[in-house]
């Protein structure tokens, strides 16, 4: 059960003094996100996102199940997160939960759940096949490969990109009979997303007076507190989470919200560009 070594006092002081003079150690400006690379495919629903050196993959799969009793016409959306020990010495192998990094895993998983399920991003009504009997269950597996700070933003981009890239098999319903068509028979159908939720995280320093967007690992470890926004390009805040840490002014929260909205637009464009690129590469399916 090894734990990550916390940064030394010198490193912390150096980081802080650099930030006070508005410089980040990787020469970004305070509101810059790291270089983002989004790789989609080859299978539909597979995405790997690199945010600087942080790497997260997301894989979307689907299955037909019985719907829940209290929502017979809605499909299901499931999330699993895997914080692989190879990503960081802080991730122990064994059940998570409790203090330290175990706690962070839960917070990150919950943000993803709230961002994608709670905000109704995915159209679950469109996943219904036979009301009360058969619906599609969409499963999103998020795996953290490399932890260099700000896993939550990276994981969210990966999950959203994977969901937008995924295509489920086409289905025909004739009375009680349900026929699932293979991808060679009929073109698979993409999921309908009502909106694209993007996660933007801020880290606070210097008694909460300074904030930076997309903290890297060192910044995350030295931060006094952090705040995560999930926004879409229409300016809707889907989730806002500040789990304790240093207290900040209300005005700062609004200021961060506006920065987050701008960043969300940037990232949404990046995802759309990646999707277009992936679409060009895909072989067209001929309908016989």
């Amino acid at each position: 059960m090894s734990k990550d070594v916390p940064p030394s006092i010198n490193e912390k002081a150096f980081l802080l003094s650099a930030l006070i003079s508005r410089q980040r150690l990787d020469s970004r400006s305070p509101h810059d996100i790291r270089t983002t690379r989004i790789l989609l495919g080859p299978q539909p629903g597979h995405a790997e996102v690199r945010l600087g050196k942080t790497r997260v993959t997301a894989n979307v799969s689907c299955e037909i199940v019985r719907p829940r009793a209290n929502a017979p016409t809605e499909g299901a959306l499931l999330f699993t997160t895997d914080f692989s020990p190879m990503a960081s010495p802080a991730f122990g192998d064994g059940p998570g939960g409790g203090g330290g990094s175990g706690g962070d895993e839960i917070l990150i998983a919950r943000v993803l759940e709230r961002a994608l399920r709670g905000s109704r991003a995915v159209d679950t009504e469109g996943l219904c096949i036979v009301a009360g009997e058969k619906v599609w269950q969409i499963k999103v597996d998020v795996r953290v490969i490399d932890h260099e700070g700000n896993i939550v933003d990276c994981a969210c981009i990966a999950a959203v990109a994977a969901l937008m890239h995924f295509k489920r098999p086409d289905v025909t319903v004739l009375g009680e009979d349900v026929t699932i068509h293979s991808t060679s028979e009929r073109n698979p159908i993409p999921l309908t997303l009502h909106h694209v939720p993007i996660c933007v995280t801020f880290a606070f320093f210097n008694q909460g007076m300074l904030q930076v967007v997309d903290p890297n690992l060192l910044e995350e470890q030295c931060a006094e507190g952090d705040m995560t926004f999930v926004v879409n390009r229409h300016g809707d805040v889907c989730t806002l989470s500040k789990a304790g840490g240093v207290a900040v002014e209300a005005g700062q929260v609004i200021h961060c919200a506006r920065i987050a909205a701008a960043k969300a637009e940037e990232v949404t464009d990046m995802i759309k560009a990646a999707l277009e690129k992936a679409a060009v590469k895909e072989p067209k399916v001929a309908i016989v």
Binding site: G103, V231, G244, A247, A250
Partner: protein, 245 residues
């Protein structure tokens, strides 16, 4: 799907007869449990929460011990009979774990943990009945229980919730309002500085509406501060009477 319910009537009254910026009636009691080092019970409307604080005491797990400060552990539990639908108790319900972690991180910055190195402070929160606002009631109860336990803190942590419906912000949502898909924001505030320590938003809210909701919630927190402060002063007065008589 909830039926089309009028959250705020044209006259400006809510389902339970309150005005939009009105907090529910609050009842507080401290020192209610004999076994715990500090305890408090809060009723906010029909939401009932019990908080118990043990500590600073010797930690059970050697692993989590910090050499220069106390570790704070928070367990947030919701009784299975507390809500309309029975809640089966899952050992590792992620939602409850998340709330526990958020509360832990909120109090870590306020409690003088450096006064008690190598020890732990346990905060146990039990929701006995929920009618909306369980999280913020729990935070307020935890504040009272910590003070009752005599653990030094730099400030109160006061919490309240606010939402936005029909073009106006409403304060302290009950269960009906929360489940009618009204975006609900829970805020925990440190009253001395007026700064926000914890924020949690569940459903979608447009950025332009964020400011009035945060402002209203902060206002509610300051109202809660007065209630909590009053409760502490009364219990301290009673304590002084028994000691000094």
């Amino acid at each position: 799907m909830a039926a089309r319910l009028e959250i705020v009537s044209p006259e400006g009254l809510r389902v339970d007869g309150r005005r939009p910026a009105e907090v529910r009636r609050v009842l507080t009691r401290t020192g209610v449990l004999s076994q715990a080092d500090g305890s408090a019970y809060i009723e906010q409307g029909n939401t009932k929460c019990l908080a118990a604080v043990y500590g600073p005491r010797e930690p059970v797990k050697r692993a989590g011990v910090l050499h220069d400060r106390a570790t704070i552990n928070v367990e947030y539990n919701v009784s299975s009979f507390s809500s309309g639908e029975r809640r089966a108790k899952l050992r590792r319900d992620r939602k409850l774990l998340e709330i526990g972690l958020m509360i832990k991180q909120t109090f870590e910055t306020v409690v003088a943990t450096t006064s008690f190195p190598r020890s732990e402070i346990d905060i146990y929160l039990q929701i006995l009945q929920t009618d909306g606002g369980a999280v913020h009631t729990a935070i307020n109860a935890a504040t009272l229980a910590l003070i009752d336990a005599g653990i030094p803190m730099t400030d109160y942590v006061c919490a309240c919730s606010a939402g936005f419906v029909n073009d106006q912000a409403i304060l302290d949502l009950n269960f009906l309002e929360e489940s009618a898909d009204v975006p609900t924001l829970t805020v925990a505030l440190l009253p001395k500085s007026g700064k926000i320590s914890m924020l949690g938003l569940e459903s979608r809210l447009h950025i332009d509406k964020l400011e009035p909701v945060i402002a209203l919630a902060s206002d509610g927190c300051m109202q809660m501060k007065d209630t909590l402060d009053e409760a502490i002063r009364i219990s301290t007065r009673n304590l002084a009477k028994t000691v000094l008589h």
